[in-house]
């Protein structure tokens, strides 16, 4: 190792190293992107908060599935209306009409229909009534739901405001009264008689968005007009925001899980966490291992004995059972996981560094340095360390995938830090929700592939470093 430049040029000469660096660049890019765009408390504030994901479809496949399968699956749709399109007096009421249209262009039924109302404000003590209607492509109209806003308490002053902190969410396809309406509708429109119970059994979405066809229902394609009518006593009454959610079968780039969480977000958040775990563990365990290894090799004597005995014992322990034990007892915090990984990481390095130091110690220039009276720490830092440094660097990179994999394994056993989403935890939740047994491949494949990808990145870099660090290997490649 004559110069640093030679070191890098040799490293760069190997194909594995180039691919490894390219992969690392990808991992670092996604990590930086995530750190820059996601809040740090993403895990507790959004990921583990089911309310945040309430409007998402559950277990939806990624959108690009449509591209491969040909049979088009319905995209998830969220339509927001913030101002009424029409306003007219009707008897004693002012009617405000919030309208939105939706084009059903594939042969699928929406998986659910939700109406969400936010910031309803009214002035008269009589609360307004809200009616939700849909007009189908065949110009038939169904009244989906009637909502009465909670009337004001005697202590309240106008304007009375409702649903500000917590929007009023109405899962239309879960309303029991709707079965009677739909049963009537079927009788009038198609002269078919279905008991309300039967309608509920068939599923409201099929009736609302379909037409009868040989005993079953097939989707009725075309334009649907959703209307939310606000019957107000006062002209100033209004709904701040109306949102109509049509549950799709495909969602986003990575699909959703059982809670409707956008898997793409969770997977993105896993990048910086994996890097953090990998780097923190490898840097700390290399640091401890190198310092103790050099000290053990160079100082020798009692210190050497003690360090080597500890290393022997630690190296002969089965890692995973003790990892499980320690993380289980001390709590599943990320820093505890890292600390435990460090405790088990350093001994193997200390043993090898010690033997390398022993070799380096016997060279004549060390004797020369000692003879001119150089202090011990100076010799260790200036003469011994540079000799073992490349090896230590290679080991550090080799520790990284091990740390990432160990954290993922702990997460899979249910010992991951619950406040921080990681790939391992996404897999654990998938496994426990039966994703493997039900074929929810989009929940199982991507997180695992990312774990492998990030681990392979560091394996490749380490392999690229190997011939540089260990000149004996150069002959073989």
């Amino acid at each position: 190792m004559s110069s640093r430049r030679e070191f890098f040029s040799e490293f760069w000469a190997s194909k594995t190293a180039k691919v490894g660096v390219l992969f690392l660049a990808i991992v670092v890019f996604f990590s930086l992107y995530t750190v820059a765009t996601f809040p740090l408390d993403y895990g507790t504030r959004y990921w583990n908060n089911p309310k945040y994901w309430a409007d998402n479809p559950k277990l939806a496949m990624p959108q690009w599935v449509n591209f491969f399968t040909g049979n088009n699956l319905l995209l998830h749709r969220m339509i927001t209306i913030s101002a009424p399109q029409k306003m007219y007096p009707s008897g004693a009421y002012y009617v405000k009409s919030y309208e939105a249209s939706f084009d059903l262009d594939v042969d699928q039924f929406p998986t659910f229909l939700t109406l969400k109302l936010e910031s309803v404000s009214f002035f008269s003590p009589k609360a307004p009534a809200i009616v939700f209607l849909v007009t189908r492509p065949d110009n038939r109209t169904i009244e989906l739901s009637k909502i009465t806003v909670e009337p004001p308490l005697s202590t309240e002053e106008p304007p009375y405001v409702r649903y500000v902190d917590e929007p009023r969410r109405l899962l239309v396809s879960g309303e029991p009264q709707l079965s009677i309406t739909l049963s009537d509708f079927l009788l009038k429109a198609y002269n078919l008689s279905f008991e309300p119970g039967q309608v509920a059994y068939i599923g409201y979405e099929k009736v609302i968005f379909g037409e009868p066809c040989y005993g079953t229902f097939k989707p009725l394609k075309g334009k649907y007009l959703f209307t939310v009518l606000l019957y107000a006593k006062d002209a100033r009454d209004q709904i701040g925001k109306v949102t109509i959610v049509l549950g799709g079968q495909v969602y986003g780039f990575m699909g959703t899980d059982l809670l409707g969480r956008d898997l793409a977000q969770g997977l993105l958040f896993g990048f910086p966490v994996a890097l953090l775990i990998g780097f923190a563990t490898s840097v700390l365990s290399t640091l401890i291992g190198a310092v103790l290894g050099i000290a053990s090799g160079y100082v020798g004597g009692r210190l050497d004995d003690v360090i080597q005995r500890i290393c022997d014992v630690m190296n002969n322990m089965p890692q995973l059972p003790l990892l499980i034990f320690l993380v289980f007892i001390f709590g599943n915090k990320l820093w505890i996981i890292v600390a435990v990984l460090v405790i088990f990481g350093w001994p193997s390095l200390a043993i090898v560094v010690r033997s390398m130091v022993l070799q380096a110690k016997s060279s004549s220039f060390i004797d020369a340095a000692i003879s001119i009276g150089a202090p011990r720490w100076w010799i260790m830092a200036r003469h011994i360390f540079p000799q073992v440094a490349p090896f230590i660097l290679a080991q550090m990179i080799f520790f990284t995938p091990a740390a990432i994999l160990s954290e993922a394994a702990l997460s899979f056993l249910g010992l991951g830090d619950p406040s921080i989403p990681t790939w391992g935890q996404i897999l654990e939740q998938g496994f426990h929700s039966g994703a493997v047994f039900l074929g929810h491949w989009w929940w199982i494949l991507p997180p695992g592939l990312l774990i492998v990808f990030s681990a392979v990145t560091f394996v490749l870099i380490a392999l690229g470093l190997e011939p540089v660090v260990n000149p004996r290997l150069r002959r073989w490649r």
């Binding site: 014992v313 890692q319 059972p321 003790l322 499980i324 034990f325 995938p401 056993l413 492998v452 394996v459």
Partner: protein
């Protein structure tokens, strides 16, 4: 150093590992107050059974309570709950060594007992069965494939093995297991999703054995794929290095057949370092086996870990940690003995 002394030395150093693990774990659960929780649980359990027994004899509720209170005090004393945790550490360690591992909170054995030693004893053979099956397959595969690759360095087989081993290093065993289930059980419907026998298990012994093998296929395949890569690679590297030694050239020069050169001159010499490397990989292998059991709900001790974590059962976790360390230490010792068998230098020096 004689053979016996060498083995004794190894045995002692492995026993120290076991002792250190035991000491540290007991100390940790003592200092964190978890041992009080475990022991209290044991006292409560004993009291519950006592109450049922005594209720038949003592009809007066007052007297019953007084009797139970007396028993409770005795139990607390006998479990050492009236003393600080460090004072009862020796007792605790002794109890674990003698496999008096306490009771589990929710997990029960297949026969219904909630004594941890019963639960573990029942599952122990299943774990060993899986581990040993894979160990043997790995050993055979790595020997044959590794040697084959070593005799043709740079060939397609050799290069694919290098690639395979570096990928398998980065491949989480448990995720591979999930993929196996997804592909072979869910999509292809070739193998069962998990477990050890079909429900209900076949009564005919032959069918029962076949059923077991059928259930064994996926977990074994998973573990072999995940762990054999590095084994094959290590075998290959050591065999290649040995094959370049001068005495191999001499053997060839003598005109010995290539098979003989390979098996007697190369592999015979390469065997000890291969074995050493297998020992070093054992810890990773043990971890893989635990996780594989959890994925395939193989009713062994690895799955038990999963259940213990789910039900927050400290006593069970402690017991499993101890038993796994024990297994590890025993397998290590067996490998050490094997090492002495294959390496004559150890015997004659």
């Amino acid at each position: 150093m004689g053979l016996g002394r060498k083995l004794a030395f190894k045995a002692i150093s492995l026993a120290i590992v076991l002792a250190v693990v035991l000491f540290l774990t007991v100390m940790i659960i003592g200092a964190t107050g978890i041992s009080d929780k475990i022991l209290n649980g044991m006292v409560q359990e004993r009291l519950r059974t006592m109450r049922q027994e005594l209720a038949r004899e003592i009809k007066d509720p007052e007297a019953l309570n007084r009797a139970l209170e007396k028993i409770r005090e005795d139990l607390i004393k006998s479990y050492g709950l009236d003393r600080p945790w460090y004072a009862r550490m020796p007792d605790m360690i002794w109890r674990i060594v003698t496999l008096d591992l306490g009771v589990s909170k929710t997990v029960t054995s297949f026969s219904g007992s909630n004594k941890i030693s019963d639960i573990i004893l029942e599952r122990f053979p299943n774990t060993i069965f899986l581990m040993v099956t894979v160990l043997i397959i790995n050993f055979v595969v790595s020997l044959f494939v590794g040697v084959r690759a070593a005799t043709r360095p740079g060939s397609f087989l050799d290069r694919s093995i290098s690639l395979f081993s570096s990928i398998s290093y980065a491949l989480p065993t448990w995720w591979l297991g999930m993929l196996m289930i997804l592909v072979f059980a869910f999509y292809l419907r070739l193998f069962p999703y998990g477990g050890m026998y079909s429900a209900p298990p076949p009564t005919d012994p032959l069918m029962r054995a076949l059923d077991l093998i059928w259930h064994l296929c996926l977990p074994v395949l998973t573990l072999v794929i995940a762990t054999s890569g590095s084994w094959i690679y290590i075998t290959r590297s050591i065999v290649i290095t040995t094959a370049q030694e001068d005495f191999v050239d001499v053997a060839r020069a003598k005109g010995l057949p290539e098979r003989l050169v390979l098996w007697r001159y190369v592999i015979r010499v390469a065997a000890p370092p291969i074995l050493t490397n297998l020992m070093l990989g054992l810890a990773a292998y043990l971890g893989g086996a635990i996780l594989t059991e959890a994925v395939f709900s193989w009713p062994g001790m690895g799955l038990l870990y999963f259940e213990a974590i789910m039900s927050v059962d400290e006593a069970l976790i402690l017991a499993l940690t101890y038993i796994y360390t024990l297994i590890y230490v025993v397998i290590r010792f067996v490998l050490e003995v094997l090492y002495i068998i294959v390496d004559p230098r150890v015997r004659y020096t």
